[in-house]
Symmetry: none
Subunit: 199 residues, 4 copies
DNA sequence: CATGAATGAGTCTTCATTCAT
DNA sequence: TATGAATGAAGACTCATTCAT
């Protein structure tokens, strides 16, 4: 990598950083290009050298975060040698919480700012969450087949699972409801998902 | 009520209707006053005769829907003569689904467009959902005391319950995932909330 | 005069009154028809029953005040039996001050609000002040002829006289510089006009 | 100064120029941003690049003119070696007339358009004229002490002096009463101020 | 006479994007 | 690459005036 390329990359990162902070803080619409270039300390034209538009930079932030999150969410491995499904579930939840805890701005952007922005973004969100619920539903189907999971509509239940996770994230990482212990939260969450509220 | 008053009301309703449809369709920001008055077939000034601003009309729509929804959500009555808690739960879910089914635009506005609009709206949403989770958490505490509900953190679990409901609503009434049978959905949802996924 | 006519007149007066107060207080542009009808406690349409437009009511106020003021300003009578010119001058100044003292709102409107409103008003003001300076210039010419007034350009000096009077009015009746004794002010003013500043 | 800076300055000047001309011609309220940008041949946004608002540009014009005028008005120097007070007075009047003669638009704006615009502008005018009358009153007091000026209320007389000057300016530079010889006008004006009308 | 709902031209201002240097 | 001056479409909102009742 040449020096120029490295500079270019750092410039990009610098702008992305400023944008992420601002989008999380003020929201997409309330953040102007002016805000971003002021925070990144670059000229107006320079912004458009690295990004096509305001939308594009938001897009990139979101896509990057989808990728990060996707890595945290793994399909449950039910092959003989794998660790117990419950442990895998736990690990996924912990990985998700770890990512969100480190990138609260992105958590906020994902949960608050990207919602209802426009059709394109709505589609992206739907796709991402769709991939997640597909994983969950598939796991549920396997679970049912194995007799571990009670008979249910795996699709509807997968939405419930996703909704539970999202709402906990919203309260904890976006609203910032107290500085909760992520491990305990994960245990409560998984406890609910597995057992519901009944004794 | 005089004829003039009736006219006035219908005018308001006419504008509110157009605004609701547009906000749901295109989102808050993408909907301009121009769009609203064109859809309502009134003059620019007439809009401001009935509403203070674009924000104000959105506010009114949202507040009205909060009121409607609030009526659907009732505290679970555990006094001797009351019907079984489970039935009450079912009824609440059915009432919510009924309201949302009839007012899909408002469902969309609530779930998509009002999220992350600005601090004022965020506060409103937080307040509304806060009231709902308070009701749920209180019911859980009573349930625990009565030995019906397994020991858990009622707050976290109340978020999970809310999240489950919201996500199902999102998929069904906003994305419009097939024309699902509301009663069946309610049963699946409640099944999950009560029992989780475990057999 | 019929009862209806009397009512009509009082209505007019009521509106004129409100308008005068508001124009003096907030200025022509900052005063809206809404302000006027609210203050006069009449309906929007009623305003246009009595006055053609916002401009028209301002016009009427100004014209009325021109008439009142014009009555206060009298040509100096140099015929044999008349009272001394100096006394006449004094009397005119006192009459002007009396009118302005009673109608401070109109004083303010005349000096502040009517200036630079539009060409039509500028012309009206020019005409009024022109009539006044004509009177003054004519008196000066007679004075020169009689050997009372020093040789000078009567036009320029008439402007100076008018300017002196206007500025004193501005300071005293518009800015309200202390509650000055009108008689003393008049004496100082006339003293200056007659003798200038030299000993 | 870089080329860019020079360009920037000339742009500003170009806009200021157009605005000055328009404000003088049509008045503050009748001049729209549209008029200004059309006259200056710039885009709407460009205007706001250089000026915060319509008010701000008017402000700047007025402040600049106050500064120019203030330089023309000098305190009368009565120290031993100074030129005769009368000559100094003459010089000040000539300087004022010279400035106004060259900037008729600003003369009109000062005398007509800035009057009664709003409280802020009224205050500015009052301050400026207040500084002028303070200078005059102080000179008068010294004159009285030196036995040159007849005993009088220096404040009231200072208003008269200001009023005389303003009215002459109004007639000559704003209404444009003939192409008067400024020197002669100055002499007539000073003659009046010093001696009044009496022989 | 009185009303006040309705009108719509007109205003100021913002801001994402372009492009000559 | 980097700059930032320039652009102009688009936005929300005001208010004098009209007219059907």
């Amino acid at each position: 990598m040449t020096r120029a390329e490295r500079l270019r990359l750092s410039r990009r990162a610098q702008v992305l950083d400023a944008a992420r902070r601002l989008f999380a803080e003020k929201g997409y619409h309330a953040t102007s290009i002016h805000d971003i270039i002021a925070a990144a300390d670059i000229a107006r034209g320079t912004f458009y050298l690295y990004f096509e538009s305001k939308r594009a930079i938001f897009d990139e932030l979101l896509d990057g975060f989808f990728a990060t999150l996707s890595k945290a969410v793994r399909r449950i491995d039910t092959s003989p040698g794998a660790s117990p499904p419950l442990d895998q579930m736990h690990d996924t939840v912990e990985r998700i919480f770890a990512v969100l805890g480190q990138e609260r701005s992105m958590a906020r952007i994902l949960i608050r700012e990207a919602v209802g922005l426009d059709e394109e973004f709505d589609r992206k969100l739907r796709d991402f969450y769709g991939r997640v619920t597909d994983l969950i539903a598939r796991a549920l189907r396997e679970g049912v087949a194995m007799g571990l999971v009670r008979p249910c509509d795996p699709d509807v239940v997968s939405w419930c699972v996703l909704g539970s996770v999202k709402q906990v994230i919203d309260r904890v990482f976006v609203d910032g409801a107290g500085d909760q212990d992520a491990t305990r939260l994960g245990r409560e969450l998984i406890g609910f998902i597995l057992n519901g509220v009944f004794r």
